[in-house]
């Protein structure tokens, strides 16, 4: 599915009548169709991946926005449709890392809230949803305790289902280094999940 969509994107063929993006109509149509495809295919996964990295919806939206703007500007550098996913995740990862690095200087006033906490649903019968939300928050807290390299590696593997080779492409690491890093991440995560009471 992914390769097919992207291949069409790079050939400039559109299979969707109404693009959710509707990028500037003055630009080259095939380029815009390609970009629309990328957005349609990857905006949700990228947003969720970044959200799990930074644990803040506003920041995740900002980073996703910047990721796609950068991707649009760099679209010409993407010549191989098969590498589009790694390419886009690399841009997202770099953008998130840059944001986190800059952000160490200043924190928002409202950052003392729980990481992307949800208000429990007050409607009757929502107990299961509340339980799921609580698990999600504890998982997110455990993720946040990982150092950024390890968090990123673990998310690319377990959330994005990437292979060590693909993760290496995104993170600029060798296959062996990814395997080592991922194992460290799992070991750390195991301890953090235990702290959150989420493991056997």
């Amino acid at each position: 599915m992914e390769d097919e969509v992207l291949s069409m994107a790079f050939q400039g063929r559109s299979t969707v009548d109404a693009s959710p993006m509707s990028v500037p109509r003055t630009a080259e149509p095939s380029r815009e169709a390609g970009f629309d495809r990328l957005f349609e295919e990857f905006s949700a996964p990228i947003y969720n991946y970044v959200l799990r990295m930074v644990a803040d919806r506003d920041r995740a939206a900002d980073i996703t926005q910047d990721t796609f703007i950068k991707a649009y500007r760099k679209l010409d550098s993407l010549t191989d449709p098969a590498s589009a996913k790694s390419w886009l995740y690399r841009i997202a990862t770099n953008t998130a890392i840059d944001e986190m690095r800059r952000r160490k200087w200043v924190v928002r006033m409202d950052d003392d809230r729980e990481p992307h906490a949800e208000r429990p649903d007050g409607r009757p019968g929502a107990e299961a949803q509340v339980m799921a939300t609580q698990v999600d928050e504890r998982l997110q807290r455990a993720l946040l305790r990982l150092n950024p390299d390890r968090r990123q590696c673990l998310l690319l593997s377990d959330l994005e289902d990437m292979s060590a080779q693909q993760i290496g492409d995104v993170m600029g690491l060798s296959y062996g280094a990814v395997r080592t890093l991922l194992c460290r991440a799992r070991g750390d995560m195991r301890r953090h999940l235990a702290t959150e009471g989420l493991t056997r």
């Binding site: 949700a44 160490k104 280094a177």
Partner: protein, 531 residues
């Protein structure tokens, strides 16, 4: 973690060869602990992969469309956008700073006499350009920097930076004793790195966190207070290329600038006419440091999967910058990155390893490790170098990068921001939030025993800078202790901790400067050995 743990981890994403899977299964059949690990890792993967999917905000697509149409610069977070804290900084009045600066900083003092008393008053002329240009450079200074500084009290810094953002007002000062002298900049941020020239005549420094998101580099003429912009750069990543390297005669400062599109090149400041020029043009070059002596030969490294360092001469008819260092080199060292030569020219610390650009910026991706080499009459003996972290295995275990600085005595050196990706040894060693203080005279160089005491860095969210005194036993640590706040109510906080290293089992002594919502540091020590 052991080898089997790694196989178990890799098995979850089908990243095992048949032989590895066979090996793992054979082990699992007889090891309950590893079966538990497999179960735990599998559960963990299910939990993470099942995390709730959050819908994309409805306004994301229109925001991206608007961003593309408007050509809005991506990557600028909310707090740097117009109206953020830097708009406040811009409201700071431009005072006649230089005269005050000269009078206050350079007032003769019985303990610290590194700096001359002022000879002129002049207005500060910082450059507002993205990259230094001829037009942005101030006119040559009217007085030569002092050439023979007097000794300072052992272990005592010549001064330190102080930055404060409070209720909308930003101030940057250089503090010496009780005197704080404001430094007027076009936009403010946190001082993060500083280097005094060996003759004490010039102070180079870097400002981070400014409104553009770029680091700003400046050099201050300590004789007359004139300020020269050295350019702006993406902040150093993994601490690579952050050196502000003065030649031993203080004639040149070499440094690196990285453009917004991640192109790095070496730059050169010439003290004689306060001019700035681009030294390399390959987009992947970082300045290292100078070989000792008067020949003005500089190590420049080109980052690549296999990096290479080049020794280049920066003066003479054959030199026509900007150049490709590979074509201008008088010596080429494949596999070597960022040689940092000790002030006495007898040793160099450098990096080996495979490099990559994981964050869009170069860092080590495999085998990154600092090494120490002796320098003989034949040059740097890279072939017989010793690993700086003598007890670490290397290979897959590696540093992404680290900050390293020599002490003026050429024996002491410090390593911090050590981004170790491998197995920590014992009690979190190496740790990016600790400082390692080694000596060339110690055969083991750096082991866990060379970690500065826990209280030295306690409460630090990151180590900003480490400066070493000439006596080899005092350090000035700039540690960030708190972030700032949105809207400019207050800025980030950093403490300057002046450390006197304890001998044997004696604890270090720590004197803290600048507590509360201020940014104190970096410290500036005279860049020469005690006579």
């Amino acid at each position: 973690m052991n080898h089997v743990d790694e196989l178990i981890s890799a098995s979850l994403s089908n990243d095992l060869t048949d032989a590895e899977r066979e090996q793992m299964n054979a082990h699992l059949a007889r090891c309950e602990r590893c079966r538990d690990t497999l179960a735990a890792f599998s559960d963990q993967r299910k939990l993470v992969s099942g995390m709730r999917h959050v819908p994309v905000p409805r306004d994301l697509a229109p925001r991206i469309r608007t961003g593309i149409e408007n050509g809005r610069r991506p990557g600028v977070p909310w707090w740097r956008r117009p109206g953020g804290i830097m708009a406040i900084a811009a409201s700071v009045t431009t005072a006649a700073v230089a005269l005050l600066l000269a009078v206050l900083i350079f007032k003769p003092n019985s303990n610290i006499a590194v700096l001359n008393s002022p000879t002129t008053s002049a207005s500060v002329q910082p450059s507002a350009s993205a990259i230094p240009t001829e037009s942005a450079i101030p006119t040559p200074t009217q007085s030569a920097p002092p050439s023979s500084p007097s000794p300072v009290a052992a272990g005592e810094p010549a001064g330190h930076f102080s930055y404060q953002l409070q209720n909308g007002a930003a101030t940057l000062s250089f503090v010496r004793g009780d005197a704080a002298t404001p430094i007027d900049l076009p936009a403010y941020g946190m001082p993060a790195n500083a280097s005094l020239s060996p003759d004490g005549g010039w102070l180079a420094f870097r400002i981070d966190g400014e409104s553009s998101g770029l680091s700003q580099y400046y050099v201050l003429n300590m004789s007359d207070g004139r300020l020269t912009s050295l350019g702006e750069s993406l902040p150093p990543t993994y601490s690579l290329g952050e050196e502000l390297a003065w030649s031993s005669d203080s004639a040149f400062l070499a440094y690196s600038l990285t453009s917004r599109d991640s192109k790095s090149d070496a730059w050169l400041f010439t003290a004689a006419d306060a001019s700035v020029q681009q030294l390399t043009n390959t987009g992947d070059a970082y300045s290292g440091s100078w070989m000792a002596g008067d020949l003005h030969v500089l190590w420049v490294s080109r980052a690549a999967s296999q990096p290479t360092s080049y020794l280049v001469q920066v003066e003479g008819e054959a030199v026509n910058p900007p150049f490709d260092p590979s074509t201008a080199a008088i010596e080429t060292q494949p596999g070597v990155f960022g040689p940092l030569v000790a002030p006495d020219g007898k040793h160099a610390i450098f990096w080996r390893g495979t490099m990559g650009t994981p964050g869009g910026h170069w860092s080590f991706s495999q085998g990154g490790m600092p090494w120490l080499a002796e320098i003989t009459g034949a040059g740097v003996d890279f072939a017989n170098a010793r690993q700086v972290f003598s007890t670490l295995a290397g290979g897959r275990e590696m540093f992404r990068g680290a900050s390293i600085t020599w002490g003026p005595d050429s024996d002491a050196f410090a390593v911090w921001n050590a981004q170790w990706t491998g197995v920590p040894q014992g009690d979190r060693f190496p740790d990016s939030t600790r400082v390692y203080f080694g000596h060339v005279s110690n055969q083991e160089l750096i082991t866990a025993a060379e970690t500065l005491d826990t209280p030295d860095t306690q409460g630090a969210t990151s180590i900003i800078d480490v400066a070493l005194a000439a006596d080899g036993n005092h350090l000035g640590l700039t540690v960030q202790t708190a972030p700032g706040a949105e809207g400019g109510a207050y800025g980030p906080s950093a403490e300057l901790r002046l450390i006197t290293r304890g001998y044997g089992t004696d604890p270090d002594k720590v004197e803290v400067i600048g507590q509360g919502q201020t940014w104190s540091g970096p410290a500036v020590y005279p860049n020469i050995a005690q006579p």
